[in-house]
Symmetry: C2
Subunit: 342 residues, 2 copies
């Protein structure tokens, strides 16, 4: 049972409904509960045969993109966002997908679901395409700064997340840093690396990676603070879009090149799908005691389907227990190592 | 007169010599002095008719990529890097281009040339292609952290640099930040924005920009600390390379698409040139009291030519005087504004 907060996005409720239908059509085994305005949702759902078993929980309120998180916590109990997350707390749904206000969703999730034991601050994941498949980058937006302790927790959560998502037993993990010889990076990144190396021998910890390693797929999981992660991802997106734009120009710049492009239609279509950002839509709020996936506010049907599939994929994976146990173990070992060193 | 440190790069002295010849052939009006091993350089220079007036200053020593800056300062007086920068101090050359060890070059430049009045720490620039032309990003590697005061200086230097390079009278300047509503960025970035807004009314200060704005060309100059700048640029490079690789695959994946690509050869060649990193080679050390351009250690002939052309372009532009005057004015005004507010 997946809860979908169907309101409060830029693309509108129709994209969320169509996305859920698309995921089910593609083989997803789950029932859907939509949270939102019944009169808006009923006619949107009706045309989709796949959604004949879907339910609606009517909610009168909607969180606006401009609402402050604190305002939503105090006065937003009637919103679709609050009720969708609440349904997970009450066990009526196993995961929640929302395309709404990120800050509010984070606050609502923390307040209603609480945090995994040993984790103080949540991190938001992003998937990034690589020649080998996908790299997970975290944090990409929950925290502007991250302490050494938080970076270690992000590494532990990212590793467990990648394992839950892909089944890979020993995902490789790298800490984002700068590589020039004169720059040794921030002291706290080096300290986090020491803890991971010494206190988490089960992790396939790669060490430091640089910006270009994200797209190269050097490691499965790239760990950084929310400020750097957000800028790295947006810089990469911008560059991919620039090159894509140039490519489009090249393909259409003359009749001859348009003619040539005809022969490549199949190849170009597959290329376009690779670059398509909707295939990597869905940021997971790691650290909260539940499954909460943030879909991009402007995501189309395909993007929403990807986010719902990711949410379903995380249900029942024992991910949170694993994170709590690993974090407890690592910080105990790190503490012992520090004491022994004193 | 441009000094070229011809030693200590990954690509070897031949690339530096060929790059200088290429720049002269393309119309550069300057004479070249090569600093390095005479017996190595003489046969490399001989075949290039453009270099018939070039001189060699023989230097016995070479700075290795692994040398610590401090070691070079103490024991590197016989190196081509030290002597090239020294020749600028003595006025025998007007600018220096080196492809060697970045940290050592920075230390050698600071020690021999000193800093512009009012600037404590240098910043390294990078050029990044955009649909409109080029964006300058700084700092991309001289400082891991930057204070509010340094960010303001980077903005002043970046603006003056863009003006010197392109002739644009009022380059637009943005501070790199994250945009999500729950993240207001680091306090010191906000403080730097306040100073620029209030104390530098002559600057076309745009405010905050995000990672994707770099490739979009939203502003002419993007200001950030060396850690974030390095990661943003490398992430963007990695993404551009990923999309470029996919494109190559698409063009060659079948006989039919190879046939189609034949019709697009001209367009694809122009596309390849746009993506070519050598067209944006050359990081300028802003803040030092001279013109020092770092060419990428692996730059080919074309990349070296671009770096030499940029160095020549900066000679005699009054850039340093302008920076010193603006910085003095801005910090005086900022100080007055602070006092008035107290």
């Amino acid at each position: 049972m997946i809860g979908v907060d169907a309101m409060g996005t830029d693309a509108g409720p129709a994209a969320l409904v169509a996305g859920a239908a698309r995921a089910l059509k593609a083989g997803l085994k789950a029932s859907i509960v939509f949270f939102g305005d019944e009169r808006t949702l009923t006619p949107l759902i009706a045309p989709h045969a796949e959604l004949s078993n879907a339910r609606i929980e009517h909610c009168a309120g909607v969180v606006a993109m401009t609402d402050k998180p604190m305002h939503v916590l105090r006065r937003g109990r009637d919103t679709s966002m609050w009720k969708a997350v609440g349904a997970q707390k009450e066990g009526r749904v196993k995961a929640v997908v929302s395309g709404g206000n990120t800050g509010a969703l984070m606050a609502v999730a923390r307040m209603q679901l609480g945090m995994i034991a040993g984790v103080d601050r949540p991190a938001v994941t992003a998937l990034w395409p690589t020649p080998q498949g996908r790299t997970v980058v975290l944090d990409v937006g929950a925290n502007v700064e991250a302490s050494e302790h938080e970076l270690v927790n992000f590494a532990i959560m990212g590793e467990a997340f990648f394992r839950a998502l892909t089944g890979k037993k020993k995902p490789t993990v790298g800490l984002l840093n700068v590589g020039a010889e004169e720059l040794k990076g921030h002291e706290l990144i080096r300290a986090a690396a020491r803890v991971l190396k010494e206190a988490d021998p089960d992790m396939a910890f790669y060490g430091f990676v640089e910006g270009n390693d994200i797209s190269q797929g050097t490691v499965d999981v790239v760990v950084t603070d929310g400020f750097t992660g957000n800028i790295a991802l947006k810089s990469a997106e911008g560059a991919a879009r620039l090159v894509g734009g140039w490519m489009k120009e090249a393909l259409t710049e003359s009749l001859v090149s348009k003619f040539g492009a005809l022969f490549m239609m199949g190849a170009l279509k597959r290329l376009k799908e690779k670059i398509d950002p909707s295939s990597v839509n869905g940021g997971v709020f790691l650290g909260v005691n539940g499954v909460v996936v943030k879909s991009h506010g402007g995501a189309d049907e395909k993007g929403v389907a990807a986010a719902i599939e990711m949410a379903a994929n995380l249900v029942g994976k024992g991910f949170r227990k694993e994170v709590a146990e690993t974090a407890a173990l690592v910080f105990q070992r790190a503490g012992n190592a520090l004491e022994a060193a004193e």
